[in-house]
Amino acid sequence: MIEHKIKIVNNAGLHTRPAANIVKLASKYKCEFFLIKDGLNINGKSIIGVMTLAAEKGSEITLVFDGVDEELAANEIVDYFNRGFDE
């Protein structure tokens, strides 16, 4: 299991487009992927779930990866967060 604490860096926050991309990225991998924010534990492969977070700029989210290909998944998804969803 890998855990990463990340911060939302782009101005618009975690809105629909990045949420959809995150779910798309996560679905490529076999491992389970969760996002934890303010006591909400969200399955990262569910778009409604990820949008529920409504994470604004500066908010902290814990990303949890658990499964066979967790490292590959963590690398790609954490990188996508750190790039500010390419915005």
């Binding site: 679905s27 969760f34 534990n41 969200i42």
Partner: protein
């Protein structure tokens, strides 16, 4: 699959402002003194009636609770002289009490309001009787301080039974929920279900405020169940009574055949009936879910089919009847 309980959240405090805004209309509450001390924190779901502290016994005074002044407290205060009354009140106002509620529409005395302003303690009045006010406010605070957990699943009210569907992403939880809605049942939440533990054995499930009755269907996108099917298709919250785990059929796994072994799963230490449903070709999960709900209702009303059949077999064995009997032994002139 175990439900991940690592993120159980519980509020440690709420502000008096949130408390006031939430109950002002609901419980006929009004602010009596100036708007002071609204940033005070309520850290305890219990209430306290400060009869003894008013009389001067301040040991073990539960000052961190919301203080309720009912008939007894008010009558006691009115029986004192102005000087004694001010002293008695000042004794408890010196403590860090979050707020004060005067029930039964009693009028606060002028020095009480002054002291409230001076020590920045909000004083509220309630039109309800003390017992009713305490009951309602306790229930509200219990709910606010209850442990909460978010799980990935769908919650549907099927014939009045709250069924929580869990399972891996893409197994078809949303599709089952949609199918159930189509058949006249009511959706509570899809994808993210917030579970609140009420009292000792009750789990209430609800959606999140933001997405409520939206749903994602793979290949289609996001749909809104409420706009699509109307008010009959949704509800805001429901007690969770059965947990159904959907999984791909695994021949190594054993599935219950008789239903005599009532398996349960624990969510926040509450035992809930639990069914593991394998998905196989030709199996209509929606209909099976309805059957599970009906069977739950039958059991709840005292009829357990598996037990009844077991009892029948046991008594038959005892009779040592060797013949294989038909359901009806002889039914005259029935040639249909």
């Amino acid at each position: 699959m175990k439900i991940n309980e690592s993120s159980i959240a519980q509020k440690e405090s709420i502000t008096v402002e949130l408390f006031y805004n939430s109950i002002v209309d609901r419980f006929k509450i009004r602010l009596l003194n100036e708007r002071v001390g609204f940033d005070r924190l309520i850290k305890d779901p219990n209430l306290h009636r400060p009869g003894l502290p008013l009389a001067g016994f301040l040991e073990l005074f539960s000052y961190s609770r919301v203080q309720v002044f009912g008939n007894t407290e008010m009558r006691y205060l009115l029986n004192l002289s102005l000087e004694e009354r001010t002293k008695s009140l000042e004794n408890i106002f010196k403590y860090d009490i979050p707020c004060l509620i005067i029930s039964n529409e009693h009028e606060p005395t002028p020095e009480m309001l002054e002291l409230g302003n001076k020590y920045k303690i909000p004083i509220f009045g309630s039109a309800f009787s003390t017992t009713k006010a305490i009951f309602l406010i306790s229930d509200f605070l219990d709910d606010q301080f209850a442990p909460r957990l978010s799980v990935h699943g769908s919650l549907v009210d099927v014939y009045g039974v709250g069924m929580l569907f869990i399972g891996k992403s893409g197994i078809g939880k949303s599709e089952v929920a949609l199918d159930l809605v189509e058949r006249g049942h009511r959706l509570v939440a899809d994808d993210v279900v917030i579970i609140t533990k009420k009292g000792e054995g009750i789990l209430m499930g609800a959606g999140t405020e933001l997405v409520k009755h939206f749903m994602e269907l793979r290949g289609i996108g996001i749909i809104d169940i409420r706009s699509m099917f109307g008010i009959r298709a949704i509800r805001f919250q429901k007690r969770i009574e059965v947990v159904i785990e959907l999984e791909v059929w695994d021949e190594k796994n054993e599935y219950t055949r008789t239903g005599l072994d009532n398996s349960t799963t624990a969510i926040m230490d509450v035992e809930i009936p639990y069914v593991k449903l394998p998905i196989i070709p030709g199996k209509n999960i929606t209909v099976v879910s309805e059957i599970i709900a009906l069977n739950y209702l039958l059991k709840h009303y005292g009829y357990d089919a598996a037990k009844v059949l077991q009892d029948r077999i046991t008594s038959k064995i005892r009779q040592k009847n060797e013949e294989m009997n038909r359901a009806v032994d002889y039914f005259e002139h029935d040639f249909e």
